[in-house]
Protein backbone atom coordinates (compact mmCIF):
# COMPACT_ATOMS: atom_id res chain seq x y z
CA UNK A 1 0.00 0.00 0.00
CA UNK A 2 1.28 3.42 -0.87
CA UNK A 3 2.37 5.30 2.22
CA UNK A 4 0.40 8.33 1.17
CA UNK A 5 -2.78 6.33 1.10
CA UNK A 6 -2.29 4.74 4.45
CA UNK A 7 -4.26 6.21 7.23
CA UNK A 8 -2.61 8.06 10.02
CA UNK A 9 -3.02 6.30 13.30
CA UNK A 10 -5.11 8.21 15.76
CA UNK A 11 -5.39 6.78 19.24
CA UNK A 12 -9.03 6.93 20.25
CA UNK A 13 -9.39 7.68 23.94
CA UNK A 14 -13.10 7.02 23.73
CA UNK A 15 -12.82 3.28 23.44
CA UNK A 16 -11.97 1.11 26.39
CA UNK A 17 -11.79 -2.25 24.73
CA UNK A 18 -8.57 -3.98 25.63
CA UNK A 19 -7.57 -6.35 22.89
CA UNK A 20 -4.53 -7.50 24.77
CA UNK A 21 -5.62 -9.18 27.93
CA UNK A 22 -3.13 -8.22 30.57
CA UNK A 23 -2.44 -10.52 33.42
CA UNK A 24 -1.86 -7.99 36.16
CA UNK A 25 1.11 -8.46 38.38
CA UNK A 26 1.79 -6.30 41.39
CA UNK A 27 4.75 -3.96 41.71
CA UNK A 28 6.29 -6.37 44.19
CA UNK A 29 5.94 -9.16 41.68
CA UNK A 30 7.70 -7.00 39.09
CA UNK A 31 10.94 -7.19 41.04
CA UNK A 32 10.73 -10.95 41.17
CA UNK A 33 9.85 -11.19 37.47
CA UNK A 34 12.78 -8.97 36.60
CA UNK A 35 15.16 -11.17 38.56
CA UNK A 36 13.79 -14.28 36.90
CA UNK A 37 13.88 -12.68 33.45
CA UNK A 38 17.49 -11.66 34.04
CA UNK A 39 18.20 -15.33 34.62
CA UNK A 40 16.65 -16.15 31.25
CA UNK A 41 13.09 -17.04 32.28
CA UNK A 42 10.84 -16.41 29.28
CA UNK A 43 7.62 -16.76 31.27
CA UNK A 44 8.69 -14.07 33.70
CA UNK A 45 9.55 -11.81 30.82
CA UNK A 46 6.15 -12.46 29.29
CA UNK A 47 4.54 -11.33 32.56
CA UNK A 48 6.50 -8.10 32.31
CA UNK A 49 5.44 -7.75 28.70
CA UNK A 50 1.76 -8.23 29.65
CA UNK A 51 2.04 -5.60 32.35
CA UNK A 52 3.74 -2.93 30.28
CA UNK A 53 2.89 -3.54 26.63
CA UNK A 54 0.00 -1.08 26.54
CA UNK A 55 2.10 1.75 27.89
CA UNK A 56 4.96 1.03 25.53
CA UNK A 57 2.62 0.69 22.57
CA UNK A 58 0.81 3.96 23.42
CA UNK A 59 4.16 5.74 23.44
CA UNK A 60 5.30 4.18 20.16
CA UNK A 61 1.95 4.90 18.52
CA UNK A 62 1.99 8.56 19.47
CA UNK A 63 5.60 8.99 18.44
CA UNK A 64 5.12 7.33 15.05
CA UNK A 65 1.38 7.87 14.31
CA UNK A 66 1.47 4.56 12.48
CA UNK A 67 -0.10 1.48 14.03
CA UNK A 68 1.97 -1.12 12.20
CA UNK A 69 5.20 0.72 12.84
CA UNK A 70 4.22 1.15 16.48
CA UNK A 71 3.62 -2.60 16.77
CA UNK A 72 6.99 -3.37 15.22
CA UNK A 73 8.82 -0.86 17.40
CA UNK A 74 7.05 -2.15 20.50
CA UNK A 75 8.34 -5.62 19.65
CA UNK A 76 11.83 -4.23 19.02
CA UNK A 77 11.76 -2.43 22.36
CA UNK A 78 10.86 -5.60 24.25
CA UNK A 79 13.49 -7.65 22.41
CA UNK A 80 16.06 -4.99 23.31
CA UNK A 81 14.82 -5.02 26.88
CA UNK A 82 15.40 -8.78 26.98
CA UNK A 83 18.89 -8.34 25.57
CA UNK A 84 19.72 -5.64 28.11
CA UNK A 85 18.02 -7.12 31.15
CA UNK A 86 21.45 -7.82 32.56
CA UNK A 87 22.22 -4.13 32.70
CA UNK A 88 19.09 -3.24 34.67
CA UNK A 89 20.32 -2.60 38.18
CA UNK A 90 17.08 -1.43 39.77
CA UNK A 91 18.28 2.14 40.33
CA UNK A 92 15.11 3.38 38.64
CA UNK A 93 11.76 1.64 38.35
CA UNK A 94 11.68 -1.07 35.72
CA UNK A 95 8.85 0.78 33.95
CA UNK A 96 10.99 3.93 33.75
CA UNK A 97 13.93 1.96 32.34
CA UNK A 98 11.70 0.19 29.82
CA UNK A 99 9.97 3.38 28.78
CA UNK A 100 13.22 5.15 28.11
CA UNK A 101 14.47 2.17 26.16
CA UNK A 102 11.32 2.37 24.02
CA UNK A 103 11.89 6.07 23.31
CA UNK A 104 15.47 5.28 22.31
CA UNK A 105 14.26 2.48 20.06
CA UNK A 106 11.90 4.82 18.22
CA UNK A 107 14.50 7.54 17.98
CA UNK A 108 17.29 5.25 16.78
CA UNK A 109 14.93 3.84 14.16
CA UNK A 110 14.22 7.31 12.96
CA UNK A 111 17.91 8.17 12.96
CA UNK A 112 18.66 5.07 10.93
CA UNK A 113 16.45 6.47 8.24
CA UNK A 114 14.20 3.46 8.09
CA UNK A 115 11.11 5.37 8.98
CA UNK A 116 9.14 6.53 6.02
CA UNK A 117 9.03 10.27 5.84
CA UNK A 118 6.07 10.67 3.55
CA UNK A 119 3.28 12.59 5.09
CA UNK A 120 0.26 10.37 5.30
CA UNK A 121 -3.36 11.18 4.93
CA UNK A 122 -5.48 11.72 7.98
CA UNK A 123 -8.79 9.92 7.77
CA UNK A 124 -11.82 9.78 9.99
CA UNK A 125 -11.57 6.03 10.32
CA UNK A 126 -10.06 5.48 13.74
CA UNK A 127 -11.55 2.05 14.27
CA UNK A 128 -8.28 0.30 13.62
CA UNK A 129 -6.71 1.99 16.59
CA UNK A 130 -9.44 2.11 19.15
CA UNK A 131 -7.37 0.38 21.74
CA UNK A 132 -7.33 2.71 24.70
CA UNK A 133 -7.66 0.73 27.90
CA UNK A 134 -8.57 3.76 29.96
CA UNK A 135 -12.25 4.61 29.96
CA UNK A 136 -12.04 8.25 28.99
CA UNK A 137 -14.35 9.48 26.32
CA UNK A 138 -14.24 13.16 25.59
CA UNK A 139 -14.41 15.05 22.36
CA UNK A 140 -11.53 17.22 23.53
CA UNK A 141 -9.28 14.20 23.99
CA UNK A 142 -10.18 12.78 20.60
CA UNK A 143 -9.65 16.16 18.93
CA UNK A 144 -6.31 16.56 20.68
CA UNK A 145 -5.14 13.08 19.69
CA UNK A 146 -6.07 13.82 16.12
CA UNK A 147 -4.34 17.20 16.19
CA UNK A 148 -1.17 15.68 17.65
CA UNK A 149 -0.88 13.36 14.65
CA UNK A 150 -0.80 16.37 12.32
CA UNK A 151 2.24 17.91 14.02
CA UNK A 152 5.63 17.84 12.31
CA UNK A 153 7.63 14.88 13.56
CA UNK A 154 10.09 16.57 15.89
CA UNK A 155 7.48 18.89 17.37
CA UNK A 156 5.19 15.91 17.90
CA UNK A 157 7.91 13.87 19.60
CA UNK A 158 8.80 16.66 21.99
CA UNK A 159 5.14 17.37 22.76
CA UNK A 160 4.38 13.71 23.45
CA UNK A 161 7.45 13.20 25.59
CA UNK A 162 7.05 16.45 27.55
CA UNK A 163 3.31 16.94 27.87
CA UNK A 164 2.01 13.38 27.90
CA UNK A 165 4.91 11.32 29.17
CA UNK A 166 6.24 13.93 31.56
CA UNK A 167 9.89 14.01 30.52
CA UNK A 168 11.93 17.14 31.24
CA UNK A 169 13.56 19.09 28.42
CA UNK A 170 16.98 17.96 29.59
CA UNK A 171 15.93 14.32 29.29
CA UNK A 172 14.32 14.89 25.90
CA UNK A 173 17.41 16.67 24.63
CA UNK A 174 19.55 13.74 25.69
CA UNK A 175 17.25 11.14 24.17
CA UNK A 176 16.77 13.02 20.90
CA UNK A 177 20.42 14.05 20.76
CA UNK A 178 19.55 17.69 20.50
CA UNK A 179 19.79 20.76 22.71
CA UNK A 180 17.53 21.87 25.52
CA UNK A 181 16.84 25.07 23.62
CA UNK A 182 15.73 23.16 20.54
CA UNK A 183 13.49 20.95 22.65
CA UNK A 184 11.87 24.03 24.18
CA UNK A 185 11.46 25.62 20.77
CA UNK A 186 9.84 22.50 19.36
CA UNK A 187 7.41 22.39 22.29
CA UNK A 188 6.59 26.04 21.65
CA UNK A 189 6.00 25.23 17.99
CA UNK A 190 3.85 22.20 18.83
CA UNK A 191 1.69 24.18 21.23
CA UNK A 192 1.19 26.98 18.73
CA UNK A 193 0.19 24.53 15.99
CA UNK A 194 -2.12 22.59 18.31
CA UNK A 195 -3.84 25.75 19.51
CA UNK A 196 -4.50 26.70 15.92
CA UNK A 197 -5.68 23.20 15.01
CA UNK A 198 -8.04 22.99 17.96
CA UNK A 199 -9.51 26.40 17.21
CA UNK A 200 -10.69 25.19 13.80
Amino acid sequence: MNARNRQKAVPDPGKDEARTVSEPISDRDVREMVTRAQAGDHEAFESLYRKYVNRVYALCLRLTTDAREAERLTQDAFVQAWQKMGSFRGEAAFSTWLHRLAVNTVWQERRAGKRRRDRIMLTDDTAALSGSVEPRASETAIDLERAITTLPERARMVFVLHEIEGYRHEEIAEMMETSVGTSKAQLHRARSLLRKALEQ
Binding site: T20, E71, G131, P152, K184
Partner: protein
Protein backbone atom coordinates in the same frame (compact mmCIF):
# COMPACT_ATOMS: atom_id res chain seq x y z
CA UNK B 1 8.10 41.99 32.18
CA UNK B 2 7.65 42.27 28.41
CA UNK B 3 5.21 40.21 26.36
CA UNK B 4 8.16 38.30 24.86
CA UNK B 5 9.56 37.46 28.31
CA UNK B 6 6.12 36.50 29.52
CA UNK B 7 5.48 34.10 26.63
CA UNK B 8 8.94 32.59 26.94
CA UNK B 9 8.26 31.91 30.62
CA UNK B 10 4.82 30.48 29.87
CA UNK B 11 6.15 28.16 27.21
CA UNK B 12 9.07 27.01 29.31
CA UNK B 13 7.20 26.46 32.54
CA UNK B 14 3.51 26.56 31.72
CA UNK B 15 3.35 29.04 34.59
CA UNK B 16 3.94 26.20 37.05
CA UNK B 17 6.59 25.88 39.78
CA UNK B 18 7.78 29.46 39.50
CA UNK B 19 9.69 31.17 42.26
CA UNK B 20 7.66 33.85 44.08
CA UNK B 21 9.35 36.76 42.29
CA UNK B 22 8.80 35.28 38.83
CA UNK B 23 5.22 34.38 39.69
CA UNK B 24 4.52 37.91 40.91
CA UNK B 25 6.05 39.42 37.76
CA UNK B 26 4.08 37.03 35.57
CA UNK B 27 0.80 37.71 37.32
CA UNK B 28 1.37 41.44 37.18
CA UNK B 29 1.96 41.26 33.44
CA UNK B 30 -1.02 38.96 32.84
CA UNK B 31 -3.30 41.30 34.75
CA UNK B 32 -2.56 44.08 32.32
CA UNK B 33 -2.14 42.14 29.05
CA UNK B 34 -5.18 40.50 27.54
CA UNK B 35 -3.30 38.72 24.73
CA UNK B 36 -0.75 37.12 27.06
CA UNK B 37 -3.54 36.17 29.44
CA UNK B 38 -5.37 34.47 26.58
CA UNK B 39 -2.21 32.58 25.62
CA UNK B 40 -1.62 31.56 29.23
CA UNK B 41 -5.13 30.15 29.46
CA UNK B 42 -4.74 28.26 26.18
CA UNK B 43 -1.41 26.76 27.22
CA UNK B 44 -2.84 25.72 30.58
CA UNK B 45 -5.86 24.11 28.92
CA UNK B 46 -3.65 22.29 26.43
CA UNK B 47 -1.34 21.03 29.17
CA UNK B 48 -4.32 19.78 31.19
CA UNK B 49 -5.85 18.05 28.18
CA UNK B 50 -2.54 16.39 27.25
CA UNK B 51 -2.00 15.18 30.80
CA UNK B 52 -5.43 13.55 30.77
CA UNK B 53 -4.85 11.52 27.62
CA UNK B 54 -4.70 7.78 28.25
CA UNK B 55 -1.27 6.35 28.93
CA UNK B 56 -2.28 2.87 27.88
CA UNK B 57 -3.42 1.80 24.44
CA UNK B 58 -3.72 -1.85 23.52
CA UNK B 59 -2.21 -2.98 20.23
CA UNK B 60 -4.65 -4.55 17.82
CA UNK B 61 -2.99 -7.93 18.11
CA UNK B 62 -0.97 -9.83 20.63
CA UNK B 63 2.66 -8.93 19.95
CA UNK B 64 4.10 -11.53 22.30
CA UNK B 65 4.43 -14.44 19.82
CA UNK B 66 6.60 -12.29 17.55
CA UNK B 67 8.72 -11.21 20.48
CA UNK B 68 9.01 -14.71 21.91
CA UNK B 69 10.23 -16.04 18.57
CA UNK B 70 13.07 -13.53 18.62
CA UNK B 71 14.23 -14.26 22.15
CA UNK B 72 15.66 -17.68 21.44
CA UNK B 73 19.37 -17.52 21.11
CA UNK B 74 19.51 -14.03 22.53
CA UNK B 75 21.09 -13.64 25.93
CA UNK B 76 19.89 -11.34 28.67
CA UNK B 77 23.24 -10.42 30.11
CA UNK B 78 24.44 -8.04 27.47
CA UNK B 79 25.72 -4.99 29.30
CA UNK B 80 24.23 -1.70 28.26
CA UNK B 81 26.71 0.79 27.03
CA UNK B 82 26.55 3.76 24.79
CA UNK B 83 28.98 4.11 21.97
CA UNK B 84 29.63 7.69 21.16
CA UNK B 85 30.38 8.23 17.55
CA UNK B 86 30.53 11.10 15.18
CA UNK B 87 27.51 11.07 12.86
CA UNK B 88 28.41 10.42 9.26
CA UNK B 89 27.93 14.05 8.28
CA UNK B 90 29.83 15.44 11.24
CA UNK B 91 33.21 15.43 9.55
CA UNK B 92 32.23 17.68 6.62
CA UNK B 93 30.02 19.66 8.96
CA UNK B 94 32.88 20.13 11.38
CA UNK B 95 35.17 21.28 8.60
CA UNK B 96 32.56 23.76 7.46
CA UNK B 97 31.97 24.87 11.04
CA UNK B 98 35.69 25.40 11.57
CA UNK B 99 35.90 27.54 8.48
CA UNK B 100 32.86 29.48 9.63
CA UNK B 101 34.37 29.99 13.07
CA UNK B 102 37.56 31.32 11.52
CA UNK B 103 35.52 33.64 9.31
CA UNK B 104 33.32 34.87 12.14
CA UNK B 105 36.30 35.25 14.42
CA UNK B 106 38.17 37.24 11.80
CA UNK B 107 35.18 39.49 11.14
CA UNK B 108 34.83 40.01 14.84
CA UNK B 109 38.47 40.94 15.26
CA UNK B 110 38.30 43.32 12.31
CA UNK B 111 35.05 44.74 13.70
CA UNK B 112 33.44 44.37 10.31
CA UNK B 113 29.70 44.40 9.81
CA UNK B 114 28.03 41.06 9.19
CA UNK B 115 28.10 39.63 12.66
CA UNK B 116 25.71 42.11 14.11
CA UNK B 117 23.72 39.80 16.35
CA UNK B 118 23.81 41.25 19.84
CA UNK B 119 24.32 37.84 21.38
CA UNK B 120 27.59 37.42 19.55
CA UNK B 121 28.91 40.67 20.91
CA UNK B 122 28.44 39.33 24.39
CA UNK B 123 31.18 36.84 23.93
CA UNK B 124 33.36 38.54 21.39
CA UNK B 125 36.69 39.19 23.05
CA UNK B 126 36.40 35.88 24.88
CA UNK B 127 36.94 33.94 21.72
CA UNK B 128 40.47 32.94 22.69
CA UNK B 129 38.98 29.55 23.20
CA UNK B 130 41.85 28.01 25.09
CA UNK B 131 41.68 30.57 27.88
CA UNK B 132 38.07 30.05 28.86
CA UNK B 133 36.38 27.01 30.22
CA UNK B 134 34.06 25.07 27.99
CA UNK B 135 31.25 25.36 30.50
CA UNK B 136 31.46 29.11 30.70
CA UNK B 137 31.78 29.36 26.95
CA UNK B 138 28.80 27.10 26.33
CA UNK B 139 26.63 28.96 28.81
CA UNK B 140 26.98 32.07 26.73
CA UNK B 141 26.28 30.23 23.51
CA UNK B 142 23.22 28.61 25.07
CA UNK B 143 21.92 32.00 26.16
CA UNK B 144 22.57 33.52 22.76
CA UNK B 145 20.96 30.69 20.80
CA UNK B 146 17.93 30.52 23.10
CA UNK B 147 17.22 34.19 22.50
CA UNK B 148 17.32 33.54 18.78
CA UNK B 149 15.35 30.31 19.00
CA UNK B 150 12.51 32.03 20.81
CA UNK B 151 12.55 35.01 18.52
CA UNK B 152 12.42 32.71 15.50
CA UNK B 153 9.78 30.44 17.04
CA UNK B 154 7.38 33.38 17.21
CA UNK B 155 7.60 34.07 13.49
CA UNK B 156 8.55 30.77 11.88
CA UNK B 157 4.96 30.32 10.73
CA UNK B 158 5.76 32.82 8.01
CA UNK B 159 8.04 30.27 6.31
CA UNK B 160 6.90 27.41 4.05
CA UNK B 161 6.91 23.93 5.61
CA UNK B 162 9.59 22.74 3.18
CA UNK B 163 11.93 25.53 4.28
CA UNK B 164 11.19 24.82 7.93
CA UNK B 165 11.94 21.15 7.40
CA UNK B 166 15.36 21.98 5.92
CA UNK B 167 16.09 24.38 8.74
CA UNK B 168 15.13 21.78 11.34
CA UNK B 169 17.24 19.11 9.66
CA UNK B 170 20.24 21.45 9.66
CA UNK B 171 19.73 22.49 13.25
CA UNK B 172 19.54 18.87 14.23
CA UNK B 173 22.83 18.13 12.47
CA UNK B 174 24.48 21.03 14.22
CA UNK B 175 23.10 19.86 17.57
CA UNK B 176 24.60 16.45 16.90
CA UNK B 177 27.93 18.09 16.10
CA UNK B 178 27.73 20.06 19.35
CA UNK B 179 27.02 16.92 21.35
CA UNK B 180 29.81 14.97 19.67
CA UNK B 181 32.27 17.84 20.21
CA UNK B 182 31.20 18.32 23.82
CA UNK B 183 31.67 14.63 24.52
CA UNK B 184 35.15 14.80 23.05
CA UNK B 185 35.96 17.94 25.07
CA UNK B 186 34.75 16.28 28.25
CA UNK B 187 37.06 13.37 27.50
CA UNK B 188 40.05 15.53 26.57
CA UNK B 189 39.42 18.87 28.33
CA UNK B 190 42.91 20.20 27.65
CA UNK B 191 42.63 19.79 23.90
CA UNK B 192 42.29 23.29 22.49
CA UNK B 193 41.50 21.96 19.04
CA UNK B 194 38.46 20.13 20.36
CA UNK B 195 37.30 23.23 22.21
CA UNK B 196 37.58 25.15 18.96
CA UNK B 197 35.49 22.51 17.24
CA UNK B 198 32.82 22.84 19.90
CA UNK B 199 32.81 26.61 19.58
CA UNK B 200 32.65 26.31 15.80
CA UNK B 201 29.58 24.10 16.01
CA UNK B 202 27.88 26.63 18.27
CA UNK B 203 28.83 29.41 15.87
CA UNK B 204 27.23 27.50 13.06
CA UNK B 205 24.04 27.11 15.06
CA UNK B 206 23.92 30.84 15.62
CA UNK B 207 24.57 31.46 11.92
CA UNK B 208 21.74 29.12 10.98
CA UNK B 209 19.35 30.80 13.38
CA UNK B 210 20.38 34.22 12.18
CA UNK B 211 19.75 33.15 8.60
CA UNK B 212 16.33 31.83 9.59
CA UNK B 213 15.55 35.10 11.33
CA UNK B 214 16.51 36.96 8.16
CA UNK B 215 14.24 34.73 6.08
CA UNK B 216 11.30 35.52 8.32
CA UNK B 217 12.09 39.22 8.04
CA UNK B 218 12.82 39.40 11.75
CA UNK B 219 15.83 41.54 11.00
Amino acid sequence: MTCSQCRKLLHETGGIDLDPAARAALEEHLTGCEECRRQAEEIAALTRAAAELPHQIAPQRDLWPGIRARLDGVGTGEPEFRTWHFPRLTRPLAVAASLLAILVGTLSLLNLPGTGYAGLERFSGERTIGLITTTAMEKQYVGATEELIYAVAEVRGALPETTLAVIDENLELVDQAIIASRTAVQKYPADIGLQAMLAAAWEQKIALLQQTARLTGLY
